[in-house]
């Protein structure tokens, strides 16, 4: 290698427009080609596992729900399932169905979000705007059903906290119909738009053998023809009683991962229809003891990004001895270097995005009970009044527009 051919060292992250959460990639580039890559993660380590040891079981549930803003239901369900196994609680069927419903709604909003981010990473912002507009419908629906847009707080140990009314069920079906229509349109785009296909096809190859070796999970693994889905193979909640198929693809590239996620969206719509149709009657929770008897359990959950693993060890007090979380992104992060072997710098954002790394989301709470939904003007007035009570007056501030 002579001097002219020397590698250029470039760092993407910890802060970079392509990254929605801090991660760091150090790249050695030769021209546009990636020669070597080093991945550093861990910038988001918040000591949650340690924190769980000094909080009660119920407090932990809310803490674990905040690991991630997108798959919050995944984490809280995986955790309560483990605790319920240790305590030997029989969760009512209605609660299991509601958990499944929220889980699938979460999958829809997560996959739509992913589709938009993928579009943005390859400079196709129109797709981003479209999918995120559709995603709002699901977010609003979740807010109406659970009270929150992201950290739903619907789970509790032994069941769920909110019941589903008949009207809500009908509304869900209406929105699902619309979303299904839109999703079919995106499937069509993915099949026809040539620049999109050019940017996704053959990019980020992960052959089946490598996916197995490196422990890839979720849509990343399913796009490499590993038809493993916790919902099917290790059924939890109501999945054992519902009819759905595991979507997999054999392209083993980013395009395959897109196909899998689009397929899963369509499956999720069918699952939600089944849940609402077959929703059993009965209580939504059983009483859980404050102190959980000694024991241990491992719970798995198919989060939108892949298999989420929670291990809980109880010691007979009201606080767990140990909680261990393995989020899907950690498993998939091992495969990034392999996927980027011999690829171009321009492929990095989409390849990284294609494992759908979990980013923290901000929470926004709106009041559903009592005062009802507030309009923008009303909300603004409310905040002005609230501040006036604190001694801050906005009346003299002129609005610019």
């Amino acid at each position: 290698m002579d001097d002219k051919d020397r590698d250029m060292l470039i760092s993407i992250g910890p802060q970079h427009p392509a990254l929605k959460e801090p991660t760091s990639f150090s790249l050695a580039l030769r021209g546009e080609k990636i020669d070597a890559i080093q991945v550093k993660i861990g910038y988001n380590h918040r000591g949650i596992e340690k924190g769980c040891e000094s909080r009660t079981y119920i407090q932990d549930m809310y803490l674990l729900e905040r690991i991630c803003g997108i798959c919050s239901h995944a984490h809280s369900t995986a955790y309560v399932q483990a605790v319920e196994t240790i305590a030997g609680l029989q969760v009512p069927r209605r609660a299991l169905y509601i958990r499944t419903l929220i889980g699938e709604l979460e999958r829809i909003h997560s996959h739509l979000l992913w589709l938009g981010v993928a579009g943005h990473e390859i400079g196709f912002d129109t797709l981003l705007m479209y999918t995120w507009r559709d995603r709002e419908a699901v977010m609003d629906l979740l807010a109406e059903l659970t009270g929150n847009r992201v950290n739903y707080g619907i789970n509790t140990i032994g069941g769920v906290r909110r019941d589903l009314t008949k009207e809500e069920g009908e509304k869900i079906l209406k929105i699902i119909d619309k979303l299904e229509e839109q999703t079919k349109y995106y499937v069509q785009i993915a099949q026809e738009e040539s620049t999109l296909i050019q940017r996704l096809s053959g990019v980020g190859k992960l052959p089946k053998a490598d996916a197995l070796r490196l422990g890839a999970v979720g849509p990343t693994a399913r796009a490499s023809s590993i038809a493993f889905d916790v919902r099917k193979d290790d059924p939890y909640a109501a999945y054992g009683e519902l009819d759905f198929k595991v979507v997999s693809a054999d392209q083993a590239d980013v395009y395959g991962r897109t196909v899998v996620r689009l397929g899963e969206l369509l499956e999720a719509y069918s699952l939600i229809r089944q849940v609402i149709k077959n929703l059993p009657d009965g209580p939504i929770a059983v009483r859980a003891p404050r102190k959980i008897p000694a024991g241990e359990a491992l719970s798995r959950y198919e989060a939108p990004r892949g298999e989420d693993v929670h291990y809980v060890k109880a010691n007979g007090t009201d606080m767990p001895e140990r909680v261990k979380v393995r989020a899907p992104t950690l498993a998939n992060s091992q495969a990034i270097a392999k996927m980027l072997e011999d690829r171009y710098l321009a492929d990095l954002p989409i390849v990284v995005a294609a494992i759908d790394p979990c980013f923290s989301c901000t929470d926004r709470a709106i009041e559903v009970e009592g005062k009802g939904l507030m309009s923008w003007e009303k909300l603004r007035q409310y905040s002005i009044d609230w501040y006036r009570k604190q001694g801050v007056d906005f009346r003299n501030v002129k609005r610019i527009i």
Binding site: Q38, V39, K40, I41, G42, Y43, H45, G47, E49, K50, T85, L212, R213, L214, G215, A216, F228, V230, D233, D234, P235, E296, A297, L298, R300, E307, V309, Y311, K313, E321, R322, K324, R326, L330, A331, S333, Q334, A335
Partner: protein, 155 residues
């Protein structure tokens, strides 16, 4: 006979010392414990012969004098949780990346959080603690006190 019972049977037939030491939980979970000098026999057998083709994660536990590690092996929906113990600060783990290359990140995690040494783990970027984390501080040990960090900031 369910898959789970069959696997339990196979394990007990192969390793006499496991007899009575394997616990079934629900339909798809097996729990067992083995001393560290015998660990790789059982682990290797489960991976190579019984078809456990994925490692969910490695959980590290601080049990006073010992550090315990649970290797969660999975075969489709079945999970075999194999636990083993080593003396804290006196014994080291050996790496399992020969079986699962992707396990490196889980091993780095227990290295950082529990302060165990893993023989055979290649050098690399640490995970998950920051580069300027004080040496000798292992947050997941029961006797660890977060106040150390305040002192560091004040200093």
């Amino acid at each position: 006979m369910s898959d789970l019972t069959q696997i339990k049977q196979q394990l007990e037939d192969k390793f006499v010392y496991l007899k009575g030491g394997i616990r079934e939980q629900g339909e798809r979970r097996l729990w067992s414990e083995v001393s560290y000098d015998l660990f790789f026999d059982v682990f290797g057998y489960a991976v190579k012969e019984l078809g456990f083709d994925a490692l969910c994660t490695i959980t590290g536990l601080d049990e006073g004098e010992y550090l315990a590690f649970i290797y969660h092996l999975s075969k489709g929906g079945l999970v075999f949780n194999l636990k083993t113990k080593i003396l804290k600060d006196k014994e080291d783990l050996r790496t399992v990346i020969d079986y699962f290359p992707g396990a490196a990140i889980y091993e780095r995690e227990v290295v950082d959080l529990l302060g165990v040494k893993v023989a055979g783990l290649p050098d690399g970027v640490r995970y998950p603690l920051p580069d300027d984390w004080p040496a000798g501080q292992y947050p997941l040990r029961k006797d660890w006190d977060p106040k150390v960090l305040d002192q560091k900031e004040a200093g």
